[in-house]
């Protein structure tokens, strides 16, 4: 297993280099110059000041030179100083990571505790109205655009009913450790982010469960005279869940990328919102740090998924 992990980590290197290269090219080749944008309207600046600033960020060098420096520094996880914040870009992005992780993990938990039972209930009640309702939700939940759904929830629960806050992570004046207040802020963005996953899991679990309960070993268990509850919980559900567990890794990556939009809607101060704002201002170091962090999380989550897969299903051999 250790060799497997090491080998997988080595495989990750070319992926990350490719991400770094593409990010560099996209940011540099897109129109717009960060220093000109940053100093636009600063009519009391001299051209020398502007050029000195360009040099301080290494943007006066030729593109190939910039690229070489960028790759060497990126290998050491150095992405330079943010043009807007005057601070190390990676540390700025990492400051926002806990908020994104909170949101993504909460969404994941919601997906599992809502999506799995829904799928099972639908399978058990196959063909009845409840099954149809879950299947309908499975299609709608997957198709509804997250940002629109978020805005609808804000209108209902924040503007009309005034039950939940629509913005940020904490009410003004509340202590940072006020868990209750944090949960109130978390509930809507986490649910919106989880929606598509809940819909997916419910459909997935329904199919898997239906598949499993037709298997011979279930019939055997029933024939042995076990109670239907035991048969279902011990034999059926456990097997139906295996593919779900292995899919988790990829889901985490999906959640972190999906958080970008949700963070915008709810002004959730996470990595996505921060990187998006940086992209609008062409703050190269922050854009690359944010994208690379996302890339690393993606690689890591796929690695976890593959390991989990290998652990859960012994038929998968490490090659």
């Amino acid at each position: 297993m250790r060799t497997y992990v090491i080998r997988r980590l080595l495989y990750a290197i070319p992926t990350l280099v490719a991400i770094a290269t593409i990010t560099f090219l996209i940011t540099r080749l897109a129109p717009g110059d960060p220093i000109r944008l940053f100093t636009f309207g600063a009519t009391d600046l001299t051209r020398e000041d502007i050029e000195a600033l360009r040099a301080a960020h290494g943007l006066d060098k030729s593109l190939p030179e910039q690229f070489a420096l960028y790759i060497v520094n990126a290998a050491q996880l150095k992405f330079g100083n943010s043009i807007l914040y005057h601070k190390d870009a990676m540390s700025l992005v990492l400051e926002r990571l806990p908020n994104t992780i909170t949101l993504a993990v909460s969404a994941l938990v919601l997906q599992l505790i809502i999506g799995v039972p829904l799928g099972v209930i639908a399978a058990v009640n196959r063909g009845k109205w409840i099954d149809n309702a879950v299947r309908f939700f499975g299609v709608v939940g997957h198709a509804v655009p997250a940002f629109w759904f978020g805005l609808m929830l804000i209108i209902i629960f924040s503007v009309t009913l005034r039950w939940l806050p629509s913005q940020g992570v904490l009410t003004v004046g509340k202590d940072v450790w006020d868990i209750g207040d944090r949960l109130k802020h978390l509930i809507m963005p986490a649910f919106v982010l989880a929606l598509a996953g809940i819909a997916n899991y419910s459909r997935y679990l329904r199919t898997e469960t239906l598949d499993v309960i037709r298997q011979d070993y279930i019939r055997t268990a029933e024939a042995k005279g076990l109670g239907s509850k035991t048969v279902f919980m011990v034999h059926a559900l456990r097997n139906a869940l295996i593919p779900v567990v292995t899919a988790l890794g990829g889901v985490l990556a999906f959640l972190i990328s999906g958080a970008l939009v949700i963070e915008q809607v709810f002004t959730w101060p996470g990595v996505g919102q921060f990187t998006y704002a940086a992209a609008r201002q062409k703050d190269y170091p922050v854009i690359t740090a944010g994208v690379m962090l996302g890339g690393m999380l993606l690689v890591l989550s796929y690695l976890i998924r593959d390991i989990a897969y290998a652990v859960v299903d012994p038929r998968i051999k490490v090659k």
């Binding site: 000109r36 051209r47 002004t267 101060p269 062409k282």
Partner: protein, 561 residues
């Protein structure tokens, strides 16, 4: 963000003008302490070091922590003593300052002349500041920047009275007072930042932890906490030299957009914020809110490339004047800004002391006159209703940045109304960053464009209008005089306004000449200057905002229970 010039805005971050609600404290009301002021913003602060500040949110928060030597009268922008008072030598080269005897840092240490010198040294040593040019005319500045001297020889702190200091300039420069003693030169605590000014630690200041967590304050509030991306919390400075503020806490809260901001003002989640004209009626209908309206120091305009070879019609003054007569800007103000703005016909907004009092052509909407001028310029109307000369139609493009609804609408209205006077406009939308690139580098694709200027406390128009600021693609020279307009008399007036006689009266004369030339030549259709619409709760007392400052007396504000 950054749709207007961001940096020049900083000097007057909250800059307002004109009629306001006035002082609302009735004489019998007795101020009480307590409460929390919560200001809404669309973006987070970037730094709390005034030397590095280059955006409005950071300047808003930093200005409450570090006080400046002078403050601007909210209504007319006149400079008044604050942390310090000053005299200027008869040759206009030396500024003598005396810091208020009561002025202390929040930890009890006195604010001194040495603290001003520290601020300058920090600017000189920072690699990331954009403020260096503000100080370049101070004697000995360059030697210090280049590491040839250990101090700035032009800045002398009185050895007998550490509260007194003098600053000597190598040449007369009228904007010096605002630029070299304003918000980017407020005294910085030597006992905190002094360690970053020692020789051999170039750019240590750029990494100072105090940039994101200031430990002492000279302003009405002290830093408490920055919850990144969410809120910045300040508490009152009990040692503030003008008396401790009545309001306990100031919170700078990030919200998604203007709609959320307006909604949260209504619910009281925010109690200080500026709203868009479309939300004004809704705000005014709220019993618990009041709205202050005053002119902003900014304007949105349509610029003309007066040297364009692809749209040569724009080279002709008569055509440009026709374009002023042919666009009903009052109607635009009414429809886009719901009446909350003023038509502009020259560079300085009426609220500025530098604006000429009278004698400007107001260019009232007059289609006949517009067409007359076009005919005088040698154009004749074709069968398609478009004027043409030498077989070439009177046609040009106007570009605006996409996503800015005000400018997109202005572009739409201009296209329609110019069509009515026989001028064909090809409207274009581009990303803001693309426009910035094309404009500042002098890309000749640009024929007409819509953008805005935010002006500062200092009215010097050199950076926008002097001939030296015309971008030159061949020489890779960038600049803000995008339309390449100039003439000798015009340049002379700008130069005299910054380095001639620095009295306000004399400068005003020069700016009158400057504005009259612009008014006549119309290198821009000067568009309009919007009003700032500041919304606060009905029970907030003592607030008295104006064009040049909204928070100048913040320490006196209080909430009536």
């Amino acid at each position: 963000m950054a749709l207007l010039g961001t940096l020049s805005l900083v000097a007057t971050a909250c800059g307002p003008t004109g009629p306001s609600g006035g002082s609302t404290a009735a004489p019998e009301e007795k101020p009480v302490a307590g409460g929390r002021l919560i200001e809404g913003s669309f973006s987070d602060i970037k730094t709390m070091n005034p030397m590095l500040v280059a955006d409005v949110p950071s300047s808003t928060v930093t200005g409450k922590i570090y006080d400046t030597l002078f403050y601007a009268d909210p209504k007319n922008g006149e400079l008044k003593p604050n942390l310090g008072k000053w005299t200027i030598s008869s040759d206009s080269l030396t500024y003598n300052w005396e810091i208020d005897p009561k002025a202390n840092w929040s930890d009890g240490k006195p604010v001194t002349g040495e603290d001003y010198l520290t601020a300058l040294k920090l600017v000189a040593m920072s690699k990331l500041t954009v403020r260096k040019s503000n100080f370049q005319d101070i004697e000995g500045w360059k030697d210090f920047v280049d590491g040839k001297a250990t101090t700035i020889s032009g800045v002398k702190v009185d050895s007998a009275d550490p509260k007194k200091f003098s600053v000597k300039f190598a040449k007369v420069f009228c904007p010096a007072l605002v630029n070299a003693f304003g918000s980017s030169a407020g005294p910085m605590p030597t006992h905190i930042f002094g360690k970053y000014t020692a020789a051999g630690q170039a750019d240590a200041i750029d990494k100072a932890p105090e940039n994101t967590a200031p430990t002492v304050s000279s302003g009405p509030y002290v830093f408490k906490e920055w919850r990144k991306g969410d809120q910045v919390i300040l508490t009152k400075n009990q040692n503030y030299f003008k008396g401790a503020p009545l309001i306990d806490e100031y919170v700078f809260k990030i919200v998604a957009d203007a709609t959320v901001l307006a909604a949260q003002l209504k619910t009281g989640e925010l109690n200080y914020g500026t709203v868009e004209p479309k939300d004004l009626a809704d705000m005014e209908a709220q019993q618990n809110l009041k709205v202050f309206k005053y002119q902003a120091l900014s304007y949105t305009y349509i610029g003309w490339n007066v040297k364009s070879t692809t749209a040569p019609a724009l080279q002709d003054k008569r055509v440009r004047q026709a374009l002023a007569f042919g666009l009903d800007m009052d109607a635009v103000v009414k429809s886009i800004l719901f009446g909350q703005g003023t038509k502009m016909v020259a560079h300085h907004p009426p609220a500025s002391w530098a604006a000429p009092g009278a004698g400007l052509n107001q260019y009232p909407y007059d289609k006949a006159k517009a067409e007359d001028l076009i005919k005088q310029a040698g154009f004749t109307k074709g069968a398609d209703g478009v004027y043409a000369k030498d077989g070439k139609p009177l046609e040009f493009s106007i570009v605006a940045n996409s996503g800015n609804k005000t400018r997109e609408t202005l572009l739409q209205v201009a296209t329609e109304q110019y069509k009515a006077i026989g001028v064909k406009v090809n409207p274009k939308l581009e990303a803001f960053e693309t426009m910035v690139d094309k404009l500042t580098t002098g890309n000749q694709e640009i024929q007409g464009w819509i953008i805005g200027w935010s002006l500062g406390l200092e009215p010097d128009p050199y950076g926008i209008w002097h001939s030296s600021q015309i971008p030159d693609p061949a020489a890779k020279k960038t600049g803000f005089n995008f339309g390449a307009f100039t003439n000798p008399e015009f340049d002379k007036a700008i130069e005299a306004g910054r380095s001639g006689n620095c009295s306000q009266a004399e400068r005003k004369k020069n700016y009158e000449t400057f504005n009259k030339i612009l008014n006549d030549e119309q290198p821009y259709n000067f568009g309009f200057s919007p009003n700032t619409l500041l919304v606060v709760p009905q029970n907030l007392r003592a607030i008295d905002p104006g064009t040049f400052s909204a928070t100048w007396n913040l320490e006196k504000w209080w909430f009536k229970q």
